[in-house]
Amino acid sequence: MQTFTYYPGCTLRTKAKDLDTYARSSAEALGIALVEPENWQCCGGAYTTATNEVATKLSAVRTLIAGKDTDGLVTVCSACHNVIKQTNYDIARNESMQNKVKQYLELDEAYTGETTVYHYLELLRDVVGFDTLESKVVKPFKGKKIAAYYGCLLLRPSKALAMDNPENPTIMEDFIKAIGGTPVIYAQRNECCGGYITMEDKAQALKRSNAVMESAENMGADMIITACPLCLYNLKKNSCSEMPVYYFTELLAEALGLKENDNE
């Protein structure tokens, strides 16, 4: 059995428990061991691209170091995934950052980007395999038209995240097919929901989230899925649409027979 370090992040412990709980139970059912490191810290929610900032990147490096001795580091939240992968990409290419981090964290040896980071969807695709997943589905989403919402953080910047084609991704659609559903392709699937702007400009969040929901609905979607707690919040609370929004892990667990069916 393969063992991965699992980083839930702050929101999965509080407002996004469903994203977390079903990620864990599904991994277990799929034969993957997820081990949570002790005393992890919040990733900060957004990666600071400034080349001369180190302090704000330290918590992500700590998490990366925690993943070094396992088969990889797994994240579920799109934002954690984005911050941790961008940190890993930059530190691997920047010796001065490696040295500064070594001093700040009082490391015996510098961290140079050796941990492999997987988003949970990548774990399903690259480690479990969508074929294997399909074979374990007991309650397929037959006849359900499901819109995958990537938003911005899962795919971009693609040179650091290297998850999928940033303009024509397929990983979530392949996931939807594996659990028996029909993916819906729509124009806004990789555009931003408004993100943290909801804190101070609800009108802008409403504009963005409405655009996403309308675009999916117009293509005939019954529901929309996301990996990001802030996307879920914006699409639900800052849009006029009634279309249900779920975490992809909820559907995964349901398809695997690990969750009561309340998604009707």
């Binding site: 509080t14 900060g44 080349t51 971009r156 940033p166 555009e191 931003c192 909801t198 804190m199 963005r208």
Partner: protein
């Protein structure tokens, strides 16, 4: 023009603003375009010219969603969002210039707002 400030922004962003060919694709794809006084391509152009003061004082700094659409789609690999981030940091790193004041947070909360929104806003708006 303040040469030190321009150099500092160039170093902080890591971007070579001179690569820009002024095609405007970054602004065309920006989800915050309508909300901005200065648009992504203008950030790049004005930093290149050293015309930084208007940017430092503009609300546009706080309208960027860090969605990386402009970074991904710029045909010249300029990465405009990194320029905006560097200007924003130059603004909020100044004493007393935090855009988000902790005392204001309670009025922004509701029962469903994820922590992620709050930590991200702090990372973006304060120092």
């Amino acid at each position: 023009m303040n040469k030190n400030q321009k150099d500092w922004i160039d170093i902080t962003s890591g971007v070579n603003v001179r690569k820009c060919m002024r095609c405007g694709k970054c602004s065309a794809t920006c989800p915050s375009y309508d909300e901005m006084e200065y648009h992504p391509h203008q950030f790049v152009y004005m930093v290149e010219k050293g015309d930084i003061e208007p940017l430092l004082n503009s609300e546009s700094l706080y309208k960027c969603l860090t969605c990386f659409a402009c970074v991904e789609r710029c045909p010249r690999g300029v990465e405009p969002a990194k320029v905006i981030e560097a200007v924003r940091l130059t603004a909020v790193r100044q004493q007393g210039n935090n855009h988000l004041i902790p005392d204001r947070i309670p009025e922004m909360l509701d029962d469903d707002l994820p922590q992620q929104a709050i930590v991200t806003a702090f990372r973006k708006y304060t120092k």
